[in-house]
């Protein structure tokens, strides 16, 4: 118990150092710190608990196995994010999910754009529908845009951090966010 308490006080760098030396407690503390961020990032891609749980475990196991190669040039969490995104992207590619994505068919979109008061059941229902359609629209983005959008819009990473995770320039991140938003705006237009 005392050991765990001490672990909680250590900064990431020290925990990484301890974990590299073979301390499972140190690595477990790193897991505790970042599990929610990793989980929520992956969940944005998979949309279900089962796959997210598997991929979150795989992410941490991949990180553990690769610790000896981690030279700590980047922050641990940036490195971990990168592993989570790569692991998830590989999974999605294997499933050929992007090929099977359903596009928003024009004929499925509602024609009316009735506005309701914020307290009415209609408004709540419309809000819920908008949320669902947004999720579908994010899910249908090209993977590169989706990954960028998830990291910035959902996970609040800065452009610079996202660029480091995705290994691209900040200009590319900025461009992808712009394009992603344009696509989302177009797809959700009937629901605004």
């Amino acid at each position: 118990m005392e050991v765990l308490k001490n672990m909680e006080e250590l900064p990431d760098d020290s925990l990484v150092h301890e974990a590299k030396r073979g301390s499972p407690d140190a690595f477990a503390e790193l897991v505790r710190r970042y599990q929610k961020k990793v989980y929520s990032t992956i969940f944005q891609f998979t949309g279900n608990h089962h796959d997210t749980d598997d991929l979150a475990q795989e992410t941490f196991m991949n990180a553990y196995k690769s610790l000896p190669k981690f030279r700590q040039k980047a922050n641990f969490y940036t490195w971990l994010y990168r592993i989570a995104v790569n692991t998830t992207m590989n999974f999605l590619r294997k499933k050929h999910r992007e090929k099977g994505r359903e596009e928003f068919a024009e004929n499925q979109l509602p024609s009316g754009e009735a506005k309701f008061s914020s307290s009415s059941p209609e408004y709540q229902s419309q809000k819920k529908e908008f949320k669902e359609k947004l999720k579908e629209a994010v899910d249908s983005l090209p993977l590169a845009y989706q990954a960028t959008f998830v990291l910035i819009a959902y996970q609040d990473l800065t452009h610079s951090q996202a660029a480091e995770v995705l290994r691209c320039s900040e200009k590319t991140v900025s461009w992808r966010m712009h394009k992603a938003r344009k696509i989302l705006q177009n797809k959700l237009n009937p629901y605004f």
């Binding site: 969940f43 475990q57 040039k73 949320k131 947004l134």
Partner: protein, 198 residues
């Protein structure tokens, strides 16, 4: 000012990545352009809704148990003994390989310069020495492998990027720019150029 430029800047503004100077330009433009104001409202609604999306309903028990599950897995995880890299032994003999290669190249160079008639007069025959080298290599598999290793190592050293963090899965994954259409790539290029100029 073109609205598509403002749309791009609005995206940066939402992310908190727009400079003060550009913010002012955006504000001025929005006062005049109802289309961009409508676009901004839509982006803000998307952003607000994103924040409301739940990340799956996972109870506190899950978070409490998850680190223990990983801990159990890593304590039972036994790293596979890495097979000794082929040629790993060779680094000790790298200088031998390097010397041999040097001898061969020097030999070939000198042989090229020497007239054939004189070549026969020389007591030291490069052809013979080269033949000896190859014979020696031929008798020793380790030396033969060493030649490959030295050449491969020099190629890797030339091509490899050694200062990158190694990320599992990266070798099989990269964001495909091929997902962008040619038109998008051209547009991206021009946007970047504009951004650099501004």
């Amino acid at each position: 000012m073109k609205c598509n430029k403002i749309e791009k800047w609005l995206s940066d503004l939402i992310d908190g990545e727009l400079s003060e100077k550009k913010k002012k330009e955006v504000e001025d433009h929005l006062q005049e352009c109802s289309l961009c104001r409508a676009y901004q409202e839509k982006l803000e609604r998307i952003q607000t809704t994103v924040k409301e999306v739940d990340f799956g309903r996972v109870g506190p028990d899950y978070w409490e148990e998850f680190p223990s599950r990983i801990r159990d897995r890593i304590t039972s995880f036994k790293p596979r003994h890495r097979k000794r890299r082929p040629f790993a032994w060779g680094w000790q003999w790298a200088w031998v390989g390097a010397a041999l290669i040097l001898v061969i190249f020097m030999g070939l160079y000198v042989m090229h310069l020497l007239p054939r008639a004189e070549q026969e007069v020389y007591a030291f025959s490069l052809e013979d020495s080269l033949e000896q080298v190859f014979q020696e290599i031929g008798e020793n598999e380790e030396l033969a492998d060493l030649f490959n290793m030295v050449l491969l190592a020099s190629i890797e050293e030339t091509l490899g990027e050694t200062d990158r963090e190694i990320v599992p899965g990266l070798e099989s994954f990269s964001f495909p720019e091929e997902e962008l259409t040619e038109e998008e790539l051209i547009q991206l290029d021009s946007e970047i150029k504009k951004e650099i100029k501004s």
